[in-house]
Symmetry: C2
Subunit: 233 residues, 2 copies
């Protein structure tokens, strides 16, 4: 039933496994016997946690510990892991007991997710940290880029507020300086200014909200926080 | 107040930090400012989790995932981390805000534990995985040896039962073959045998329980499971 694991590895890694039996074990569900993937899954889970943590830390320089934790959890929950496993067609390589085979265990999320983590654990033991780290970053390239860009899509007022709170500074104030144009085509001008310094910026937009966002974006850029790079490492 | 972090590093590592500011940040509590150790703690926590996971996997070849998780949790809980921090006199190097300083923050478990993890995260970024892994294994040498030996102290009947259950084999039966000696100096002879094979072993002891343990130990050795090395990787 199950395909030769070496074919799977050849797609993932530059060189064959030093210990092919580790790869077989990673693909063996507990229903198929005692030499199964539960211990390797424990290792792979920890490995994945570290690699994703480091990458999020680098890509999200302004995110606090809570945000980093939430984003990592979203990348390594059972759904995400099972999707990764399906991308690798891991189901074709699984070794399952007769009962699990009969009831479609090779398509079950929990079994696929566990096997994916176990495979990472096996590759770590077989080829070392640098190799498995690169593999994880390749597999997660799209998801990590999405995590970083979704943070950038956070609105500017929120980012400005977070930037200031991280530095224990007062919240900004927004004042409408003027409204021009006809009722259905108004133009708002808003000033965003800090209460504890001279810094301020002007924004314009077709609604008060848009003008405020524009002002906050400009002020963030003035403060050096537009790309969040002025934040804690 | 706080001592130069380079003195701390000199005690821990072969070469000085490439990025001393990371080490300073690891020792900076959030009460002291925005460039504090919360993000590095997130990284160090993941790093420590992986290093301890791998080491437990190797040292406890018969432990299942649940047992590995419990043992790791015991090694990385707040008490254990704070004890590690105290061993390094980390409190002397902490940077705290005025309020925390006044209320003795440099002796608080949670602050010490977080700083210890953050320090590991900083060393990982500064000197790489291999260096920080070796440091963790040195710091945890005693605790890891204790974890391994406490498992060996598990009684032989339990270990035999776990060995058999992992292989989905029947539980052993214990029969008293004989009792000799006076009431206060009895000697028991017990036979431990498997129900699904011919394997059996005899044990003797001053109580029925001791004789059973002796028989289980001998049978485990016969089965190749005495050092648990016949178990899943």
């Amino acid at each position: 039933m199950s395909t030769d694991p070496q074919r799977l590895l050849a797609r993932l890694l530059a060189r064959p496994a030093n210990h092919p039996e580790l790869i077989v074990q990673a693909l063996t569900h507990r229903s198929a016997g005692p030499d199964n993937n539960e211990r390797l899954e424990f290792l792979g889970d920890a490995l994945l946690g570290l690699v994703i943590a480091e990458e999020l830390l680098e890509r999200l320089p302004a995110a606090d510990e809570g945000e980093l934790s939430r984003r990592r959890a979203a990348l390594v929950n059972q759904d995400a892991l099972a999707a990764m496993a399906r991308g690798l067609q891991l189901g074709d390589y699984l070794r399952l007991g007769a009962g699990e085979l009969r009831t479609g265990g090779h398509t079950r999320d929990s079994i696929l997710a566990d096997a994916f983590e176990a495979l990472l654990g096996a590759i770590y033991l077989d080829q070392g940290f640098a190799v498995v780290r690169e593999l994880v970053l390749n597999l997660y390239a799209e998801a990590l880029a999405e995590a970083a860009s979704s943070l950038m899509r956070k609105d500017a007022k929120t980012r400005l507020q977070e930037w200031l709170q991280a530095r224990r500074r007062g919240l900004p104030e927004y004042d409408v300086l003027g409204v021009s144009g006809e009722q259905h085509a108004q133009q708002f001008t808003v000033c965003c200014r800090l209460t504890d310094s001279e810094a301020s910026a002007i924004g314009e937009g077709s609604s008060r909200r848009r003008a405020e966002q524009q002002a906050a974006e400009t002020l963030l850029a003035l403060l050096g926080g537009a790309d969040s790079s002025a934040s804690p490492a």
